[in-house]
């Protein structure tokens, strides 16, 4: 007989941590972005994606609103706005 024995891979996706946001959320202006990908690297949730310039965005289902992406963007193309 076996009880819980292992977790299947990548199942944390079921936990929508976007609900953690209380005061602010990032807004990706997609205006002056140079696709340096620093926001992609620095996000603790790994929820920022993008390819070419001005295509970067986050998955608000998981974004906790920490603001590191806004801090790191060398073009200030990400700003923190009030969470609705």
């Amino acid at each position: 007989m076996f009880g819980p024995l292992f977790c299947k891979p990548l199942t944390s996706k079921n936990n929508k941590t976007g609900s953690w946001r209380t005061t602010q959320r990032p807004k990706f202006l997609q205006t002056n972005c140079i696709a340096c990908r620093m926001c992609v690297l620095i996000c603790p949730e790994g929820c920022i994606e993008g390819e070419e310039k001005n295509t970067y965005h986050c998955d608000y289902n998981y974004c906790k609103g920490c603001g590191n992406c806004a801090e790191i963007c060398p073009k200030q193309d990400i700003i923190m706005v009030e969470e609705k």
Binding site: M1, F2, G3, P4, F6
Partner: protein
């Protein structure tokens, strides 16, 4: 093939025939000859295992945990302090349902430090979830290591097994033993296969955090599995008999001349050899005595014990370990077998002997039989030296 071997050598040989992928080795008396023999085999190219000289027993257990978690067979051995040091890893291995096999060369625990035989070390791990065998002689040691892998790796079991053999007495004693041929071992023990493992093709997460919503069922499952082992082991023992010829009946207990016995000693390990001799001697004199040897201590074979002892008038339980502050371990478990049952011995008495390697002689055993009368019921330490005791420092 029959060979005259030291116990450690015999164990090393059977382990090598089981072809463990990884062996973790750390020295502690009196198990050290086992890894030394295995090291020799590896060095000579006779055994292909990865031999890992770890820096402590805690790591020895962790190394075999990692190896078995990767889906391969592994082995380690230890005693006494080493077993206690790795104890948290042992609980972890059982909880992770990994079929590790480990030899415990039973030795007393510190303090004071004592390198000789008693069973305190492995008895102290009886709560861990490991299956535990206590072997009487070197042939049993050989055979039960093989049985250990077979039951551990069974897809319905997946629990680790500890083969307990009395330190020095069995590890350093010499016996003529039958070492099976490789082909026969392969017949009995198929290669270890498991989908529950660390595999880049199927990336699972092992060792997760289980909160109070999930933890209890993992423990219930192990408890249930131990009950299933009580049913599965006899089948495996039958398979063993068919291939190797030696009959351990069900591999749970051995009832030696208990059928009409009025007095029976219950015991585990090498002392059973001495008890059998005492029983034979006393039987020649017309005394109706017998021995109930417990081979499988975990899971505890209550039903078999009940069947063997229910009509025996007086039972002595010989413990070679203590549960300090309470009744001796084997004794308290034997007593519990009979609560609420229709039949039970009139007397079940606790005897403690052979701690720290103090010899249990034929005379000691005969004394126990003599002391098994309805007049005395308290726990008694056999061959105790009162001159060493004082009330105040």
């Amino acid at each position: 093939m029959k060979e005259f071997l030291e116990g450690s050598q015999a164990v090393a040989k059977i382990i090598s025939l089981c072809k463990p992928a990884v062996i973790a080795a750390y020295p502690i008396t009196p198990q050290t000859h086992i890894p030394e023999e295995l090291a020799k085999m590896v060095a000579e190219g006779l055994l292909n295992s990865e031999f890992v000289n770890v820096e402590s027993e805690h790591s020895a257990a962790s190394v075999v945990l990692g190896a078995v978690a990767t889906g391969l067979r592994a082995y380690t051995a230890t005693s006494s302090q080493g077993l206690l040091l790795m104890s948290e890893v042992l609980f972890n291995i059982a909880g992770l349902r990994l079929p590790v096999v480990l030899t415990c060369a039973n030795r007393a625990v510190s303090a004071p430090i004592n390198i000789w035989n008693d069973q305190q070390d492995s008895i102290s791990l009886r709560d861990s979830g490991w299956i535990q065998f206590y072997v009487e002689n070197i042939q049993e040691a050989v055979d039960f290591h093989l049985i250990a892998y077979r039951i551990a790796e069974d897809k319905n079991v997946m629990l680790p097994v500890m083969v307990c053999m009395d330190g020095y007495i069995l590890t350093h004693g010499l016996e003529v033993v039958e070492i099976p041929e490789g082909k026969m071992v392969e017949n009995f023990l198929p290669p270890y296969q498991n989908n529950y493992k660390l595999d880049v093709e199927n990336p699972l997460t092992l060792g997760f955090l289980a909160d109070s919503d999930y933890y209890m069922e993992t423990r219930f499952a192990i408890q249930k599995t131990h009950q299933e082992v009580l049913k599965l082991l006899p089948k495996i023992i039958q398979e063993f008999k068919a291939i190797f010829g030696r009959d351990y009946q069900e591999g749970l207990v051995e009832a030696y001349r208990t059928e009409d016995a009025e007095k029976v000693i219950v015991a585990m390990g090498s002392v059973c050899g001495t008890i059998k001799e005492a029983v034979d001697d006393l039987r020649k004199k017309g005394k109706k005595v017998g021995l109930l040897k417990i081979i499988t201590y975990r899971p505890f074979p209550s039903n078999k014990i009940y069947e063997a002892l229910k009509d025996v008038s007086k039972v002595a339980v010989l413990d070679r370990a203590l549960s300090l502050g309470s009744d001796a371990p084997l004794y308290s478990e034997i007593r519990s077998v009979f609560f609420g049952k229709k039949r039970a011995p009139k007397l079940i008495r606790s005897f403690i002997a052979g701690l720290g390697g103090r010899d249990i002689t034929l005379e000691s055993i005969k004394t126990i039989f003599k002391k098994l009368s309805l007049k005395e019921t308290e726990e008694e330490f056999i061959d105790l030296k009162p001159e060493l005791l004082k009330e105040k420092l």
